[in-house]
Amino acid sequence: MSESTNALAHQFDDLEQQARSNTLGMWAFLATEVLFFGGLFTAYVVYRHAFPEAFAVGSKHMDVVAGTVNTAVLIASSLMMALAVQSAQLGLRRPLIMFLLLTMTLGAVFLGIKAWEYHHKYVENLVPGVNFVWEGPLRNQVQMLFLLYFIMTGTHALHMVIGICLLTYLVLGARRGRFSREYFFPVEIIGLYWHFVDLVWIFLFPLLYLIGLHL
């Protein structure tokens, strides 16, 4: 009980108000994030509409296997996150730490595969602004796809890195026993963030990797 009293910030009357405020704050932040990625998705829609063939051709150079594996890894990490939130709600400290660590590990695996993919693109001379070489027609148009690929997945990866930092913060807090059945909303709202970042990938994966498959 004393834990809970310490967790209450001075501006709030009770933990319930604090939890409500923090949850609403995270949702508002996610609304900002939707609009932030929305700008990128708008650019994608405009250029894919303008250059459909180039996008289909370029998309064939994406590593579909790596992308599929990464999708599975991220969905699994979301599951671990959901289990972590449940453990926090039930006040189970050890499972909470374990699931948080699993979430982080899967996130790190995702980033590792992503880095390997980036390296591969570099070797194939497909990085715009660094070493982009395209012998066939529609060079500029194909470059646009790779540019969007790097900007969109790069922004997504940056969000993953921030997510892993937030999870580290949760693990440290959980080890010190900061969370309880009354006070678990930090786990919940960072979970919201993590699921959001996963959700962005669910849109990125088909838009970038799969559009060339039907040609």
Binding site: L24, G25, L35, G39, A43, A50
Partner: protein
């Protein structure tokens, strides 16, 4: 009006702790408001300095005081500093920060540390911009239009863009904080229908900040990527679409106009009631109009692009919607005016600014309708008519309301009054100087004088001399309050908790308020602004 006060409260937010650290690490919303007040004021005078150079150059038809390249940098820096570092933070971050928790009967905002972080982000972005000023400036116009900004400009676009990007997050976090605070921190009994109109305005503003600013952030980031890596996202020679940039930019930057002017509406709604001692005419309509403007504001951005290859049908729709947004704005103007009717109007300094606002905003708004008409817009696009129009909104509207709000809340912030005669004199000076500066620009623009040139034909000379003369009067009008407000900190008489006899929770706590605002959480039992009740009691 209120009993004579002989001493300040013993412990208040200003003397609760001393030392630089107690300010730089504070989480008290009132102290953060003061931090913003100091820094935003500095940016205001910096932006004003650039404006003065622009006006001095335009005093003669030839480009003689500044080289054209320097002139381009001056008007760009004027725009960037004034918009991102004065107009957007001014009323929300200073006045809003200071009064929102008090209006709601709360101890602080929902996220005090986030509030402090917002200020640091604001400072970080501001320092980038100052750095650009020192090393040579930027010349793209505040709009950063591509491909000029991303390919051709020889000025410091990336550093400026980074400054705007970082400051944008300060704006987002402030908006987020206000939205959550409005939802969860209201005192018992303070229902949505009882919220002060200033709260409704800032709530609407915050929604726009949360939903609009990230799009600007990504647009500016893409310009930076294009410029640094020489790749073509918007560059037409590499297959990019410069119009896409304009869409992304104006998707934020038109709603940003409402970020700047909605808080001013809120201020005017407060002041017009206090100084006519009457409840607002049509509370629900004024409150709803704020939300309406925030929503419709997102649907009109295409009217900045009538002269691009945006389709004519899109243009028609944007034109129609731009007319439509005049409805909620009109509702507000009519309701403020109706509130004055049979009110007991007093002409103190804040009220003079309020009158100035209503008149000038109406002119700015009506000329906005001219510009929303596609045919006329093609004629006056990129002329001084547009410059005059948005200055009537931004300076005649927002700056007037900001000064009104500063004078209105100054006694609450400092515990002291200011010399009202000087205040009224300065308000008059600002009004006269403003009209002398910007009315001639409507004429020059309609006759065809384009914006953004250091030189112009001889025929516009007289109008430009008038404009520069007006700008000088305006500058004096802004300096006078700076002097007497600083003077008042030590020498003016004490104000007491409620010098204006105003309603609202913020006036029920001592001036200056204690750190946690209220001794115990107030309980709200009546409607807002029950001015008529007070008069009945007097009878």
């Amino acid at each position: 009006m209120s009993p004579i006060v002989t001493e300040l409260p013993k412990i208040h937010y200003l003397n609760a702790a001393y030392g630089l650290k107690s300010w730089l690490l504070t989480t008290d919303h009132k102290r953060i408001a003061i931090l913003y007040l100091i820094t935003v004021t500095l940016y205001f005078f910096l932006g004003g300095f650039f404006a003065l150079l622009v006006r001095l150059e335009l005093m003669t038809p030839a480009s003689d005081l500044l080289r054209p390249e320097t002139y381009n940098r001056m008007f760009t820096m004027h725009g960037i500093v004034m918009i991102f570092f004065f107009l957007i933070p001014a009323i929300p971050a200073i006045i809003g920060n200071f009064v929102i928790p008090m209006m709601l009967g709360a101890r602080d905002l929902a996220f005090p540390r986030l509030n402090l972080l917002s200020w640091y982000l604001f400072m970080a972005g501001g320092l980038f911009t100052l750095y650009v000023v020192v090393i040579g400036g930027v010349d793209t116009g505040w709009t950063f239009y591509v491909p000029y900004s991303s390919v051709y400009s020889n000025s410091y676009v990336v550093a400026t863009g980074l400054g705007v990007f970082i400051t944008g997050f300060s704006s987002i976090l402030t908006g987020l904080n206000f939205v959550v605070t409005t939802h969860t921190m209201r005192a018992p009994g303070l229902t949505w229908g009882r919220l002060p109109l200033f709260m409704w305005s800032l709530y609407a503003t915050s929604l726009v900040q949360i939903l609009g600013t990230p799009v600007l952030a990504i647009a500016v980031a893409l310009v930076g990527i294009e410029r640094i890596w020489r790749v073509g996202i918007f560059d037409p020679s590499l297959g990019g679409d410069p119009i896409l940039y304009q869409h992304l930019f104006w998707f934020y930057s038109h709603p940003a106009v409402y970020i700047m002017v909605l808080p001013a509406f809120g201020v005017v709604s407060e002041l017009v009631q206090t100084f006519s001692r009457k409840r607002i005419f049509g509370y629900k309509f004024v409150a709803g109009a704020s939300i309406g403007i925030a929503v419709y504001g997102f649907l009109v951005w295409g009217h900045h692009m009538f002269t691009t290859r945006q389709s004519v049908y899109a243009g028609l729709i944007f034109s129609f919607l731009s007319y439509f947004i005049a409805v909620p704005s009109g509702i507000k103007v009519f309701n403020w005016t109706a509130t004055l009717y049979k009110g007991s109007v007093s002409y103190q300094t804040p009220m003079l600014y309020t009158f100035g606002f209503i008149g000038l905003f109406t002119i700015g708004g009506l000329t906005g309708l001219f510009l929303a008409a596609m045919g006329l817009d093609l004629h006056v696009h990129d002329t001084y008519f547009v410059v005059a129009h948005f200055h009537y909104i931004m300076v005649g509207g927002t700056v007037m309301a900001y000064l009104g709000a500063i004078h209105y809340y100054w006694p609450k912030m400092t515990g002291r009054l200011y010399p009202d005669a000087w205040g009224r004199f300065a308000a008059l000076l600002v009004f006269v100087g403003f009209n002398l500066t910007f009315f001639p620009q409507f004429l020059a623009g309609y006759l065809g004088m384009p914006r953004r040139y250091a030189a112009y034909p001889e025929e516009f000379h007289l109008l430009n001399v008038m404009s520069t003369a007006g700008a000088s009067v305006l500058a004096v009008g802004y300096l006078v309050p700076l002097i007497y407000l600083l003077w008042s900190l030590r020498h003016a008489p004490l104000a007491g908790p409620n010098p204006w006899g105003a309603r609202g929770l913020e006036w029920q706590t001592p001036s200056p308020p204690p750190t946690f605002n209220f001794e115990k959480t107030p309980i709200v039992t009546d409607e807002t602004y029950e001015y008529s009740l007070e008069e009945e009691e007097v009878v």
